[in-house]
Symmetry: C2
Subunit: 222 residues, 2 copies
Amino acid sequence: MADAVEGLRPMRADARNNRDRLLAAAREVFVEKGATAPLDEIARRAGTGIATLYRRFPDRQSLMRAVVMDALLQTADEARAAAEESDPFAGLVRYMHRVLDLRTAAVIPALMDQISLEDEQMIQARTAGTQPLQDMIDAAHRAGSLRRDVTFGDIGLLIVRMSRPIPGPFPREVNDSLGHRHLDIVVNGLRPDAAHRAKIGGPALSLGDLQEMSHAETRKRG
Amino acid sequence: MADAVEGLRPMRADARNNRDRLLAAAREVFVEKGATAPLDEIARRAGTGIATLYRRFPDRQSLMRAVVMDALLQTADEARAAAEESDPFAGLVRYMHRVLDLRTAAVIPALMDQISLEDEQMIQARTAGTQPLQDMIDAAHRAGSLRRDVTFGDIGLLIVRMSRPIPGPFPREVNDSLGHRHLDIVVNGLRPDAAHRAKIGGPALSLGDLQEMSHAETRKRG
DNA sequence: ATTATCTGGAGAAATTTTCTCCGGACCTGT
DNA sequence: ACAGGTCCGGAGAAAATTTCTCCAGATAAT
């Protein structure tokens, strides 16, 4: 959760712990319900009282800002690490799967038009992530392992699409597993040729599986 | 909007027109804001008063049901039409792009766990769409034009992923265009080999474009 | 052990959303 | 063109949801 403490003196251990839980819960809830999700659900999921949330983040704005900053920093870490790989396409793929797990690519767009990304701190956090990613893309283009007509925006937004949970009857673990599986398919489509065709991971879903799930959901409610 | 009139005697022209506008607006709003979107926004976007909405659809449930039924029927029409094509993979691609335009694949999952899909009428509407799609997939598998490990669930859920608008600073037309572009990439990934590689359509987005857009959005609010 | 710091939940206040009522407008028949 | 029934829109009361504060008690650090 990075160590972005705001105060000057070190926080007490329990306070720090609660802050981290709140940020993690907020990321999940914002991803699932959008930027207007009720704050008390975030507190509940973090296992704290609502007052603890308000104490740490005086208003919604400040919570959203912290969530985005946290997400940007984690994403930047992954980008830097992935850029170390010798094969740039492999680095790209690793980056995409990791970011999918972090859900940073789902939460950032969800909050993006609610907060300003223009101050110094934000710009720096953004650049820290975008630069290594752009470098990997350029390198993959040069190496001929990435389709020339695939751009930075495509990579970024495809991760967003794979990251957002599909609403409906899917349990969270199924949703996650499908995200990676579909990312595998996308990755395949990013290749300029068939030479590197990879296996698509995770369990596949048949028509029957889908129907069974939606039926189970109906029964649960009924 | 199909001609699913519920009453026994034919509706008056203005009433019928308003009903159609409401259904179309509801589809858009539910896609953008989810199943709990305020109903008066739907009325506003349809250009009718809120009372007209309540008159036609006594409660949220009944509106959601009508939206889903409408979407299922339109989807089934597309599936049947696409299944006519001689090349099953081409049919699949056409189907996916058309469904993307209709936004049916975005609205159905959004409402899916709010309404029952189990009554006779719903089951029939569902089957009408799933059967031709399953047939196309099977035919493409036999023809060797679709990866063997890609299933019904993959196709359906990938359309859902491409259909949902990306939240953030993207104008609607950009969002739509990117949906088709990314679907092109996905389609490429569905191929078993490079023989049929297609061009990826629509304008690409660079890192600079993305930054400019989010900046413009910030300014608009600021 | 002491003390400064942190916690949780109850509940008042504010905001948002739902849903009804009815005067008046608008189609459709003749 | 007119009569008759059908349909419309918006105001606003009622209900539901969400925000945000207060403070007695619990907890961590020295």
